[in-house]
Structure formats: structure tokens, C-alpha cells
């Protein structure tokens, strides 16, 4: 009966395709980050739904409603904290997942890679929209700074910015539409994730040796589901420890002050996961140039399949790419640090050097 269901029922067939999926025998724990990202997405959607029941997208009530959730809703503080900190976990997983893809040349699976980069971009956008919603000082000023970047577009810039704001400054209309889009985008991410998985299942996973993945395969369930479960527990421990022991560890103190358009914080900076891109943006003295560099810092991943066609897929077999990859990781961390610093010497110069290095490393990797 069970087998019949799995074979003939469309839902059963879908589930069966996952359970019976042939996976390369030798994939390491780094391949678990895909499923962890799925877990993060589900966590965000579930907690987000509960938060949406109490949140009020109005500039006069948004901050108070967030406080209301934390103080007066049963376990509201827990749900809010999970939602805020799970976003950080999401980015830890997404950066590791992308890094693994670069190291093992997963970008050779073009369709999967392209959808993946699109997912990364939309996730970044969703996280930014969500950061604005508590309507604290940093929320407001982050929204102002980031939306203003579009004014660098020649001729149409200021018109587009006003269109996005729904007025002549970041205002109630901006908050309302940001909330609507923040609610909508996770569904888009879910759909794209499904596409990502479909493409992945067509080509099959890559593997640490970079050899043909069809040589030695095993069923996804029970072997890889068991392996992924360890990752799930570790992620829960990490998330749970932050949420229950240091829930405000990654939250800027400025965001505990209600948004005030008349008082600019001394030091505006985004969440930690956007700091490398922010550092790249500030390293270019020209506004349009900075915006283009910011976009290219992520969009360069779209070009990786065309740029990088290594002889050996795995960087562990390719000393040049191995060194280049670890330089890229170091560079990314240094950029993250620079993004949290004021724009002054020597941080400015370090940021500029790191920005040039960031893009150069991709070029080095593209040469065989």
C-alpha cells in the first residue's frame, strides 16, 4: 500500500524522488548546508507568520508593536528573537554553502548555480526589508542610506528613489510596502528553492573529489537524512544558545531607540552579514561606482560558470585555486571588519585594497 502510494500518487512520487535520490557516497558535512538553509527558511516563515499577527506596519506604532510582542505576547520575546537571530544563522549557512560551491566548482552545474545566486540576492533583499520593520534608529537610517543608493542611477535615479519611498523621504508608505514585500519574498524564495532542488536533482550533487558523481551513490534517506540531522541539531544548539543566552548579541544598540529622522546616529552600519558589501560600497570614492561595485560583489557569482572552468573540479586538487579560495575567505572577513569601522584612515585604505583584491581573486581563479 505504502509502495503503491509512493509510485502512483503525485505527492508520493515527489517525496519518493527525495527519499530515493541517489547521492554521491563521499559528500562531506559541507553538503549539509543546503538542507540547513531549508530549515532556516522554514523557521523564518513560521516565526514570521506569528510576528505578523501582532506587528503594525505604521511609523507611529511599529516600534511600539515590536516592544509589545517582546513584553506582552506569550513567548513573543522568544519568537522575535528566533526570527532576528535565525536571519544571522541563515547567512552563516548561505555563505558557507556558496563558499563550498566555489571551492568544489559547483558552478559547473550552471542552472543550479544561477538559481542559487538569484536566491542569495533575494535573501539579501528580504533580510534588508526585514531589518527596517522594527523602526528603530538603525532601521530608519539603513533604509535611508540603502534606498538612496539608487539615486546614483543616471537620469532616473531620484525618480526611482521617490517611487520606492512612496514620497519624498522614508515614510509610512515606505514602511508599509517594505512590510508587504518582506512578507511576499519568502514565498518567492520557497519557489526558487524548489527550482534549485529540481535542477540539482537533474544533474546530481558534486562531490569532494570532483569525480563523476554517478560512480558510487547511495539513497538520500536514511544515510544523508541521518547525516543532515546532526547539522540540524548543531544549528539548533547554536541558534538556541544565542536566543536564550545572548539574544541581543548581534543587534545594534541604536535599534533600541525609536526612529527619529531628525537625529542621525554617529555611526551607521548594517547587520554583520552585509558588512563586506558595505565596505566595498564605501571603498569607491564615486557614488555610482560604489553602487556598481556593491552589486558586482554578489553578481560576479553569476559569471563564475563562464569565468572559471578548472581542469580539476575540486580546489583541493588545485593548489592555485586552493590558495585563491582561502585568500577570498580572509578577504571577506577583513572586509566585514572594515565595514564596521568609520570611513577614515587607515580603514579606508585597507578597505580599498581589500576591494581590489576581492575582485582580483575571482580573476585569478578564472585562469587555469
Amino acid at each position: 500500500m505504502k509502495n503503491q502510494m509512493m509510485k502512483h500518487n503525485p505527492m508520493g512520487k515527489m517525496a519518493n524522488s527525495l527519499i530515493q535520490l541517489a547521492c554521491p557516497k563521499n559528500i562531506s558535512a559541507l553538503w549539509s548546508f543546503g538542507s540547513l538553509l531549508g530549515l532556516c527558511l522554514i523557521t523564518q516563515i513560521l516565526t514570521g507568520i506569528f510576528l505578523a499577527m501582532f506587528y503594525i506596519p505604521n511609523i507611529y506604532q511599529a516600534f511600539d508593536s515590536a516592544i509589545y510582542i517582546s513584553r506582552d505576547v506569550n513567548f513573543g520575546w522568544l519568537i522575535r528573537s528566533i526570527h532576528a537571530n535565525s536571519a544571522s544563522m541563515f547567512f552563516i549557512c548561505i555563505y558557507t554553502h556558496t563558499g563550498r560551491g566555489i571551492y568544489y566548482s559547483s558552478h559547473q552545474m550552471k542552472e543550479t548555480w544561477m538559481v542559487g545566486v538569484t536566491l542569495l540576492l533575494i535573501t539579501i533583499l528580504t533580510a534588508f526589508l526585514g531589518y527596517v520593520l522594527p523602526w528603530g534608529q538603525m532601521s530608519f537610517w539603513a533604509a535611508t542610506v540603502i534606498t538612496n543608493l539608487l539615486s546614483a542611477i543616471p537620469y532616473l535615479g531620484s525618480t526611482i528613489v521617490n517611487w520606492i519611498w512612496g514620497g519624498f523621504s522614508v515614510s509610512n508608505a515606505t514602511l508599509t510596502r517594505f512590510y508587504a514585500l518582506h512578507f511576499l519574498f519568502p514565498f518567492l524564495i520557497s519557489a526558487l528553492s524548489l527550482m534549485h532542488i529540481i535542477f540539482l536533482h537533474q544533474s546530481g550533487s558534486s562531490n569532494p573529489l570532483g569525480l563523476n558523481s554517478n560512480n558510487e551513490t547511495m539513497k538520500f534517506h536514511i544515510y544523508f537524512s541521518a547525516k543532515d540531522l546532526i547539522g540540524v541539531i548543531l544549528l539548533w544548539i547554536m541558534l538556541g544558545s544565542v536566543v536564550l543566552l545572548k539574544p541581543n548579541l548581534l543587534i545594534d544598540p541604536e535599534n533600541f531607540i525609536p526612529a527619529n529622522p531628525l537625529v542621525t546616529p554617529t555611526h551607521i552600519q548594517p547587520e554583520w552579514y552585509f558588512l563586506p558589501m558595505y565596505a566595498i560600497l564605501r571603498s569607491i570614492p564615486n557614488k555610482l561606482g560604489g553602487v556598481l561595485a556593491l552589486i558586482m560583489s554578489i553578481a560576479i557569482l553569476y559569471f563564475l560558470p563562464m569565468m572559471n572552468k578548472p581542469i580539476t573540479k575540486s580546489a583541493s586538487m588545485n593548489p592555485k585555486n586552493k590558495i585563491a579560495f582561502w585568500l577570498l575567505v580572509t578577504n571577506f572577513i577583513v572586509l566585514m571588519w572594515i565595514g564596521s569601522k568609520p570611513v577614515e584612515s587607515p580603514f579606508e585604505e585597507i578597505g580599498q585594497i581589500m576591494t581590489v583584491t576581492y575582485f582580483s581573486i575571482y580573476m585569478i581563479m578564472s585562469k587555469n
Binding site: R71, I237, E254
Partner: protein, 311 residues
Amino acid sequence: MAAWSPFKKIAASLFGVTGATAAFTVYNLEKRPLKAAELLLHPPAYEWAHNKVFGSFDAASLRRGYLVYKNVCKQCHSIKYLAFREMVGVFMTEEEAKAEAAEVDIVDGPDDTGEMFERPGKLSDKLPMPYRNDEEARFANNGALPPDLSYIVLARHGGEDYVFSLLTGYCDPPEGFDLKDGLHYNPYFAGGAIGMAQALFPGIYEYADGTPAPVSQLAKDVTEFLAWIAQPELNTRKEMAIKFLMVMTFLLPSVYYWKRFKWAPIKNLKIEFRPPKPPARDQTGTATLKFRKGIPKLRLTDQIYKTLQTE
């Protein structure tokens, strides 16, 4: 372990030196101010019991801190997000909290005639604000707006350490410091000149529980109270953390063992090549291998057999 080649030794040395230099540079850039304008006195790190991994609030200190707030800070600062009911079971009994609430007059209404009226406070009421609006607060404080204290501990870099240091850090300005009228010198405040005058003095308040009340004790108690307001869930959260980590301590090894158990046959799979036994030979010395049905018999000559053996 094989000895390293000279190239590897040089590479490792270079890596070590570069890493150490980078770490030293980063440390210094992080810790030391780069410009004279940044010469702001950073608060020292104090050991707050509730900030320890599994630490909780000191209920007696919270009770004393509330009294300091009520008698000193309340004249200018609001705590608009705190309701009297939140104190019940933390540092007050229900009766005490009800009595505390009843002390204040709350504007309610409108009544049946459409008029607003005043009534004694109830547990569900929030703490009353000292001023009707920000403008009145500014007018009464020489243009400076006393901030709401509900989230002050979380809204300032340095948290409790900053608030405590600010309250205890008033002193005379250094030589040459231009302090405007109506401002007070405090090295922990950005810029040094703060609108709030020193509020805590020795003996300004006597605790009913007999605790001596020097400035440091008053400041410690009120800071702890403010920390509690900003995160009233802290005690519950830490309790939950202990339970959560206990479950996880059991769950992680269990799942790890289960995974190892499932993977054991795969991990222990041994692949080896076993050369075939020499087949029987007929009188002419030719060996015949038997294969599955449908596949023609392979006749092996000595030469082919030897080749197979070698490979």
C-alpha cells in the same frame, strides 16, 4: 612525519609572520583611539551577575533599584513600557504591587458624560510619565530631553557598565575644558558635557532592608533595575537555556551514534580484488571459463591468463 622542504619552511614562516603582524595591527586598531576626538572614557567591564552565562537578576537589588528610580530618577525620566503587573513575583508581592500602583493617579475615560477623569492606578497600568510630552520635558530641563529609561541599558554601547559609570563618573572638568552653563562634566558621556546633573549622593536614600547606600550601591541597584526592565524575560530565558542545553546534550550524541550506526556498513565496506583461481585445463592445455547463460564461453590461452593475473 617527513621533514619539511626549505620552500615549505619559508612559506610557513612567512605565513606566521604575516598572520602575527595582521593580528597585532587589528588588535591595536580595535583598542586604541585613532584621533583626539575619540578620547572618550570607555567604561570598565564590571561583573554583573545577570550577565553571566546562567546568571539571574538579584531580586533584592531590583527592589532597591526600583525605590531609587521612584525617589530620584522618576522626577525627570519615564519608563513608559513597564506595567506594575510586571513587578509581581519578581521583586514585589501582588499586594505590594497593587499598593504601589494605587499611589499614582491615572487619567482615564471618557466617562458617560464624555469627560476624562482620574483614578488610582491598577496593576495593568504602565508607570506614569513625568511630563505630558517631549516639549514639556525639554522646557523643564534646559532644552535637554531626558530619555525614556525602558531600554536605556540595551540602547547604549557598554550597557550596564556605561549606565553605572555615567551615574558614578561625575567629576570636575579637566583644565581648559569649556563647560557651558547648565551642563555638567562627565567623562563617560560623549563630548563630556551632559545636561543631567549628578543625581546620586551618599545618604540621599536609606534602604529599608539596612543595606548601606553609598553612591556605588545606589548606582548598582538602579542599573540592575534598568537592566531588568529592558529584558524582563532574562530569568525565564536562562532557565529555558539550561533545559534546552540539557536536552541537546543528550540529543546530539544520540543522533551522532544513530548516524554512525546507519553508516557503519558503508564506512566498513572493504573493496578488494581477488584473482580468479586457475581454471581446469583440458588435455591440450587450454583452460575454459564458464560464464553466465547467453554469454559465449571464453577460451583462455596461457598467454591471456597470465596477462589477466598480472593486471
